[in-house]
Amino acid sequence: MTTYYTDQHEWIRVEGDEGTVGITSHATEQLGDVVFVETPSVGKTLKKGDEAAVVESVKAASEVYSPVGGTVTAANEDLSGEPAKVNAEPEGEGWFFKLKIADKAELSQLMTEDKYKEFVASH
């Protein structure tokens, strides 16, 4: 099980062919209190970089992009009633959606945890 990161502050945790996607702690700190999350429909096909979900804080709406291409297999329905889970556990219970990864080679274009930490520190 490996977790990869994007420069848009999404993470994807990969187990076999399936990836779980969410936004990073750093992203939630930047957003502030999350009040609404819109997740993609199961079965939706996403390309790498497609708008996959929306996260809204008190102040503003932000898009969540799919770190890799694939087909959505699950969406975190809990977030519609408890969007604050994204702030509480951004890289756990606050996940957004799961997808069956179309091409695992795309993962190589993402950052490892160490690289992502460096990326955040340098921005």
Binding site: V35, F36, V54, E56, V58, P83
Partner: protein
């Protein structure tokens, strides 16, 4: 790259904000705290439950000096300022020649003082000061006071908190203003604010601002509150944000701010585009400012189009977000007047989808101003 035009200013409380761990953002040319580590939702709820301290030193403060500055101001505003009693503050609309709203502001007549005390929006202060000076040249002199800081203490416990630092001050009623010594600092204190709650706005010399802010924050019932919660509080209170809900293209009639036209002024006129505005007050306007409650939890932001149930666009949201006290999205905007009745069903076009919503009365959260016993 150095660019003086983009150089952001800091208020006298900047160091305090940094000290308190604020997240600083550019706003109206200033580096301002949008939130503290507490977070916008808790800051908002704390203000409604106890008391919060806001730095609003970026706003424009000035004094108006002349033979009769109140009468002079009536030439550019529809308010009854000549009837403003000593020790009282009044809301005003600064109008352009077409009757559009150039800004909104608060004007105060302090007891035993001839000059009037003016507070305008931060983003408009340079423009307002120039406009008033030019329009009323020879009648009054506008004296900007960038040497003064301004802070707001808001919430149901604001009265008891400030009374500990200025004994007796809790006796003031809504819209009363006095000069007072607060925690040893000379201040102009008004029972006013922008949250719908009871509270005060306190103007002090810049050099005294941090001392007073720290004295107020030493009270365990007070938290520092950023601009994020200031915006959600004022939206729940149904109060306009200049540049969003009112601007030079809207007039007092369609903005539903007819209450800001003084009774005497309605017949006496003499303010910009007075006949046109009063005709629109009497005969109605094509569109009207309304409150909007989206169904579900998705907020609809400023700029969102409003459609009727056939899909025809009938208006636009001018302020939209999430109301923490209601735990629901709220908005205000303009719709064609025939859709402006409370309860009217509309759709909000958010990310290509029609979100059902209803026109709703404002304020969304009842105002709780200090009235009654007191003075």
């Amino acid at each position: 790259m150095e660019n003086t035009a983009e150089k952001l200013l800091r208020t006298p409380l900047y160091a305090l904000h940094v000290d308190l761990g604020a997240k600083i953002v550019p706003f109206a040319g200033y580096e301002m705290p949008v939130q503290y580590p507490t977070g916008i939702i808790k800051e908002h709820l704390h203000t409604r439950e106890k008391a919060g301290l806001f730095d609003v030193s970026h706003m424009g403060q000035a004094f108006l000096r002349g033979p009769d500055p109140a009468r002079a101001m009536e030439k550019v505003c529809p308010s009854d300022f000549a009837g403003l009693k000593e020790g009282m503050q009044r809301y005003g609309l600064l109008l352009n020649d077409q009757g559009g709203v150039k800004d909104d502001f608060m004007l105060t007549k302090l007891a035993d003082e001839h000059d009037l005390y003016l507070v305008v929006n931060a983003s408009m202060k340079e423009s307002d000061f120039a406009y008033i000076s030019k329009k009323l040249e020879g009648e009054l002199t506008l004296i900007p006071r960038p040497d003064r800081a301004l802070m707001a203490l808001q919430g149901p416990l604001a009265g008891q908190v400030l009374d500990k630092l200025a004994p007796g001050i809790d006796f003031l009623n809504f819209m009363r203003v006095i000069r007072a010594t607060v925690a040893g600092v000379e201040a102009i204190v008004g029972r006013t604010g922008y949250t719908g709650e009871d509270g005060f706005e306190i103007s002090v010399e810049a050099k005294d601002a941090e001392k007073l802010a720290r004295a107020i924050l030493a009270d365990p019932d007070v938290l520092p509150i950023g601009l994020g919660a200031r915006d959600s509080l004022r939206l729940e209170a149904g109060l306009c944000l200049y540049g969003h809900d009112i601007d030079e293209t809207t007039d007092p009639a369609e903005a539903d701010l007819v209450w800001a036209i003084g009774k005497r002024r309605k017949t006496e006129l003499g303010f910009p585009a007075a006949e046109k505005i009063m005709s629109r007050v009497l005969n109605g306007t094509e569109k009207k400012r309304v409150g909007i409650r989206p169904e579900g939890r998705a907020p609809a932001r400023d700029g969102t189009e409003i459609a009727d149930k056939t899909g025809r666009i009938i208006g636009k949201i001018t302020s939209g977000g999430f109301g923490p006290s209601l735990n629901a999205p709220i908005a205000m905007g303009y719709v064609e007047t025939k859709f402006a009745a409370d309860g009217t069903e509309v759709d909000l076009m958010v990310r290509g989808k029609a979100l059902p919503a209803r026109i709703a009365p404002m304020p969304f959260v009842p105002h709780r101003y200090k009235r009654g016993a007191g003075k």
